[in-house]
């Protein structure tokens, strides 16, 4: 894995925010930087972060597997996160999920707790369920990359995906 100079620099900046003996505190900021850069965090990246912070790689693997926001596998060009917490579930998010998958050509049959992300065959879209995205009055809601979308009913799915052609 090639670490761009820019990333190296912003990582060092992030580490500089903490006292030298508490370097480990920069673990989460570093993981966010890595995921922003590569879209996901692979084994090499985990080892790189661990080396940067002088901790054992398991300590970084703990974090990556704990937080659902961190991905260990490459997502599609656009990554969709559909909220499935109570309000959105009642508002029909599962139907929305099915519809999006159907249109984008995503097969979710292999998805599991340990491997929650499914990618479309053309690699354009990837999708996973997320927990509450904090807009319970306007469900079902979802995130496409960093864009927030409300009231994504199954019939709006097509229009949603067309924005990312």
């Amino acid at each position: 894995m090639e670490i761009p100079k820019e990333l190296e620099k912003s990582a060092d900046d992030a580490i500089g925010h903490y006292p030298p003996e508490e370097k480990r505190s920069a673990a989460l900021p570093l993981l966010h930087l890595v995921q922003q850069e590569f879209g996901f965090i692979n084994d090499d990246a985990i080892s790189w972060v661990a080396d940067k912070l002088a901790v054992e790689p398991i300590k970084i693997l703990e974090l990556v597997t704990f937080y659902p926001g961190f991905r260990q596998k490459a997502p599609g060009e656009y990554h969709i996160r559909v909220c499935r917490t109570l309000s959105c579930a009642m508002a029909g998010c599962h139907k929305t999920m099915e519809k999006i998958c159907e249109i984008a050509g995503i097969d979710r049959s292999k998805v599991s707790h340990h491997d929650p992300i499914a990618v479309s065959s053309d690699g354009k879209f990837s999708i996973e369920f997320a927990e509450c995205l904090a807009s319970c009055g306007t469900g079902p809601v979802c995130l496409v990359g960093d864009d927030f979308h409300e009231e994504v009913k199954p019939e709006n799915a097509k229009a949603l995906l067309q924005q990312y052609k």
């Binding site: 084994d43 054992e56 790689p57 398991i58 300590k59 693997l61 703990e62 597997t65 704990f66 340990h114």
Partner: protein
Amino acid sequence: MAVSKKSSEDLVNVQVDGHWIRVPKGTRMIEACKQAAAEVPHYCYHPKLTSPGNCRMCLVEMGMPPRPTPGEEAELDAEGHAKINWMPRPVIACANTVAEGMGIRTQSLLAKECRQGVMEFLLINHPLDCPICDQAGECTLQEYSVEHGNGQSRFLESKVKKPKNVDIGPRIRLDDERCVLCSRCVRFSKEVVDDDVLGFVDRGSHNTLAVHPDRKLENNYSLNTVDICPVGALTSNDFRFKMRVWFMRETKSLCTGCARGCNTLIGSREGKIYRQGPRENNKVNSAWMCDSGRMEYHRLEDPARLTDPMIKRGRTHNVVDWTEAICRAAKDLSRFKGDELAIIASGGMTNEELYLTRTLAESLEAGVVDVVKRSGSGDDYLSHSDKNPNVNGARKILKLRSPGSRLKLIHAGIAEGKIKALLVLGEDLLDIGFSEEELGGLKCMVLVHMIANPTAKMSTVVLPGAGYAEKRGSMINATGRLQRLNKAIDSPGLSREDWEILQGLNRAVDGKDEVTELVDVFGEMTSAVSIFKGLSFAGIGDLGVDVMDTGESVPLLEREAKRVRDGLIVG
């Protein structure tokens, strides 16, 4: 009349299950309960490790005296203590410390319900494989299930599947489904041996103990994690599936792998040792020992163990009975005097054996007596670079100023033809720099050893001895502590405890007719060797006594003492 008991500066009054006790300030609630003989069940708490308080098994009810209204006196109970206001919520006893006037209830309905709840959660995803689990019989989950659990499970859903039979290190297997996530192993690896390779991946009910794919739990102290694992998640490759724990007899003894003298428990059944683990001694090894030390017992299983006394006739060794062997050895050795006879003893011998060697050397007027040095790599924890367990005993009893330094005199003596006879005790001379040629020139060589080694092949009389777990005796470790070895199993065949062999040789040489026990040998030694003055064999006890000041300390104990001072651990 009720008298208000003021707490002295270092002690505070604590009420445990209705009884008032006084404990030092800063005592953890769980330790105060222990002192009051009230057992508080726990998984994650271990006195030698930090207390994260994550298992919640030690929840108890706690109360404090209320602060009285200004100008008013506190309301007192019949014993003169301030009345306790009980808190509506339970607290964990492991990470909280006591305070003056605190009340703890370990048997209240609330405490019992908490334990029941924790047990129910722990058993939700726990496999029901106790019949084939190595921990069965010494598993706290099993024990607490009986004592604090529910008779029936209310869980109807399917259990979460986790990795099983995971190879996390060369000596350890992990069963993640059995793990109760107490994190003792994680903390031990990080805090005690500075090898932070264990961690928890995933979350919620999928939370799993793991090593990083590129790392292994392979430090020389890894098997301690198996000991402190309260369940059967971590098991030792050496021990698993070999013996049910309740069939084993446990013998308190010592590890003889190096000069540390770690206190051990040897688990054996019907003449076979199945495992050896640490026994807590805060003056020697805390609660730990190294992996290589645990494996020492396999030496006793050497296929080349000597089982019968033998005398060499021509080129072959013939089996003879003990009387003949001892008489022959004594006769042969007695033919040589002074510079003609040398004795090579071992730093692995017990004090009693060394003392009998000394008396034998005196009767035979042996010219040179020495032991063999055995150095290796030590570490900054427990393992010592001196791989002999009792060089300090040899120093004092054989009066050796610099053990091993006289071996070159023996080499020279043999080369000059001056030394004609050798008595070798517990050593393989061909392994320590003597050559076949050299030894071939001797008129007589008597060997006491447990293994048919190359030296045995060259010896004129071979007397089969016992291994460290097959005999009793005492040793002095690197820090000058006198400790006892105990016999866990019998030595094979007709072999004997080395002190008996040496006693036999002594009697055959000096012609006295006395029956003695090992304790009598120790008794004799107390008047002959000044450091043992006033001691008795029984007085050594299970934990030993300091008899010498060697100026050495145990690095691991020093760090532990610092963590105790810093309030991180109980110790």
